[in-house]
């Protein structure tokens, strides 16, 4: 059923109107609408995946205009997998947000618009349409970051808006260059037209450079990542979990799409330095992101810089232009979404109990919140790349492919990043499991007080703990929903790792075509 493709975008947008329309009469309409939309989205995405598995690539012509002229929506192994990831993360976030807040109806509307935007980025087969969906994703994300009512969140959101818009505009300019040289915006059509124009043509090369830089801003690769740590650290926990899992993922996917579906490996063969530059950029991002993560004391910032590094690895895997490495990059893309969402929820849950979210605040938390701590540990080791978790499957294929292609720099960087990932997670795990909890009143401790202050907006309207988080009269506990989500993410990370070969067999046909 190819009609499911446009519905992936339409359903969340229609449901997003619900909470705004009836919000005055029914204050909890947002959550109900979000659950209904997320379940419908899951049903649609599973049906799309089923179609793709049975029949291969399917496409849908929007408005009935045949593809090179009209907008085309495309589902193949990679986009179908990512759409399922979007549904699953949406459901998890909606479940988690019930306890953790923010509780307003508009929050759920924004979340659903974001779901629609990301689904659109993933299924579109048209470069300009991709720009529109990137901006829908961006707009919804800026609004969501600002739902943390603190002024710092508004500043972080504005910074993200300025940088993100420049990125998207550069992408649009790049699309303009390609459109001028070929007269087409359809990805599949462009793949045939670009060799006729010549990959070496300055217009095409400039277009490629602008598109890559624009999408790198959105993906948060190293020198262009500056918006990301603030945005992740200042937004409410449920928002951070959602955007860390999906927003940058969508941009990294777009980068993959443009590299493979529009420019194809033939471009790399004709103009090797273009993707060589991207490999170097990504490798720098991996190392610098990890080092910056090691230097952070705030847990959310640490995880944010960790994302800079992991996305560097994904992009490096894609830019190596080797089948194995690309598959590794895609597996890591999917796996990172699951793991990072789980880690952010775990940090949110542990921070509520600990009363602060610096590394030191977590001392001895394993006794007070054993399940969340254990799940955090599993997810941390999964991201480090301990087999059989999905982090291992992704990194292993990236390294293998990099060695096959003779890109020793990527292989080396992947190994170094694994060590650095272990370094920043080891610090947290040591606090969790091998330190005693500090004496009960932590309010005098300046760090904890500052962190709790920053968190006050979040804990006050979420978490179910009444009053200030730094006055543990009745010690707050991890909410059941948070526990379910974290454990599900941990199990998911391991299960995905165990079934990594099946995941690869779904993704493989898409990448294989490019290398034939």
């Amino acid at each position: 059923m190819t009609d499911a493709l446009p519905l992936l975008v339409v359903v969340p947008i229609v449901f997003a109107l619900g909470p705004v329309a009836v919000g005055q009469v029914r204050p909890n309409a947002g959550w109900v609408a979000a659950v209904a939309a997320a379940l419908a989205h899951l049903g649609l995405s599973v049906s799309v995946l089923g179609t793709v598995l049975a029949a291969g690539r399917t496409s849908y012509a929007v408005g009935g205009y045949a593809p090179p002229f009209g907008i085309e929506l495309v589902a193949d192994g990679v986009s179908a997998t990512l759409v399922v990831l979007v549904s699953v993360v949406t459901i998890a976030t909606v479940v988690y947000a019930r306890a953790a807040g923010p509780r307003s109806n508009t929050f759920y509307s924004e979340l659903l618009i974001l779901t629609a935007g990301i689904s659109g980025v993933v299924v579109t087969g048209d470069l300009f349409n991709l720009y529109v969906f990137l901006e829908i994703t961006g707009l919804a994300t800026y609004a969501l970051v600002a739902t943390g009512r603190s002024p710092a969140a508004a500043l972080a959101s504005l910074k993200y808006l300025l940088v993100g818009t420049i990125g998207a505009s550069l992408y649009l300019l790049g699309v303009g260059y390609l459109y001028i040289s070929t007269g087409s915006l359809n990805m599949a059509d462009l793949a045939g037209l670009l060799p006729e124009v010549g990959y070496g043509s300055p217009t095409v090369l400039t277009g490629f450079a602008l598109i890559v830089v624009g999408l790198s801003v959105k993906t948060a690769l190293f020198p262009l990542h500056t918006w990301q740590p603030d945005a992740y650290a200042e937004s409410p926990d449920s928002v951070t979990a959602y955007i860390s899992a999906l927003v940058s993922t969508a941009s990294a996917y777009a980068l993959f799409r443009v590299t493979y579906a529009v420019f194809t490996p033939a471009f790399d063969a004709a103009v090797p330095f273009a993707l060589d530059t991207l490999v170097i950029l990504a490798s720098v991002s991996v190392v610098v992101g990890s080092v910056l993560a090691v230097l952070q004391s705030d847990l959310k910032r640490m995880l944010a810089y960790s994302s800079v590094s992991q996305f560097g690895l994904v992009v490096a895997g894609v830019a190596v232009v080797n089948e194995t490495a690309t598959l590794g990059g895609l597996v890591h893309l999917v796996g990172h979404g699951v793991m990072k969402a789980g880690l952010f929820v775990a940090v949110g849950a542990l921070a509520t109990v600990a009363g602060g979210r610096t590394v030191d605040d977590l001392a001895g938390m394993a006794d007070r919140a054993p399940i969340a701590s254990a799940a955090f540990a599993v997810l941390a080791f999964a991201l480090v790349g301990v087999p059989p978790a999905v982090g291992f499957a992704g990194k292993w294929h990236i390294v293998l492919g990099a060695v096959e292609a003779g890109r020793w720099i990527v292989a080396g960087v992947a190994v170094v990043s694994t060590l650095l990932t272990l370094a920043y997670f080891a610090r947290v795990l040591e606090r969790l499991y091998f330190r005693d909890a500090p004496a009960p009143p932590v309010a005098e401790h300046p760090d904890a007080a500052a962190a709790a202050d920053a968190d006050a907006a979040l804990t006050a309207d979420g978490s179910g703990s009444a009053g200030d988080a730094d006055e543990p009269a009745a010690p707050p506990t991890v909410s059941t929903t948070a526990r379910i989500v974290v454990v599900a993410a941990a199990v998911g990370a391991v299960v995905l790792g165990v079934f990594a070969t099946d995941l690869i067999s779904v993704l493989e046909p898409v990448v294989e075509v490019s290398f034939r």
Partner: protein, 119 residues
């Protein structure tokens, strides 16, 4: 060189607008001026699309109205969409600026930074 400038002055305008816009975003500490800069930057890119669709003496591609040559309406239609996106972005940005101004009492980035480090 002069020839190129005279025949391609529209692209020169694109470069100038994009440059002014980027300077506005990075050069000014005032948040509203940054948003104005962002708008100028986007307008430069819009102009690039619109001007690329211009064909000397061309007519709209309507059957039976004129013998041609025709100009493609697509770049203009694309930019209509992009303008809508730009307007929404400006609205969100200004809403954020209102919140920031309420909290800090200033729109100067450096002053806000000072307030934040003092707290």
């Amino acid at each position: 060189m002069i020839d190129l400038l005279v025949t391609h002055y529209n692209y020169l305008a694109v470069v100038v607008l994009v440059g002014i816009g980027l300077y506005g975003i990075t050069g000014s500490p005032n948040l509203v001026k940054k948003i104005i800069g962002l708008n100028v930057f986007q307008v430069g890119i819009f102009l690039f699309f619109v001007t690329s669709g211009y064909v000397e003496g061309a007519a709209p591609p309507l059957l039976g109205r004129s013998p041609g040559p025709y100009a493609s309406p697509l770049p203009h239609v694309l930019i209509l969409t992009a303008i809508v996106v730009g307007v929404s972005l400006t609205a969100v940005a200004l809403a954020l600026v209102v919140r920031i101004y309420e909290a800090y009492g200033t729109l100067d980035e450096d002053a806000i930074e000072e307030v934040r480090t003092r707290d």
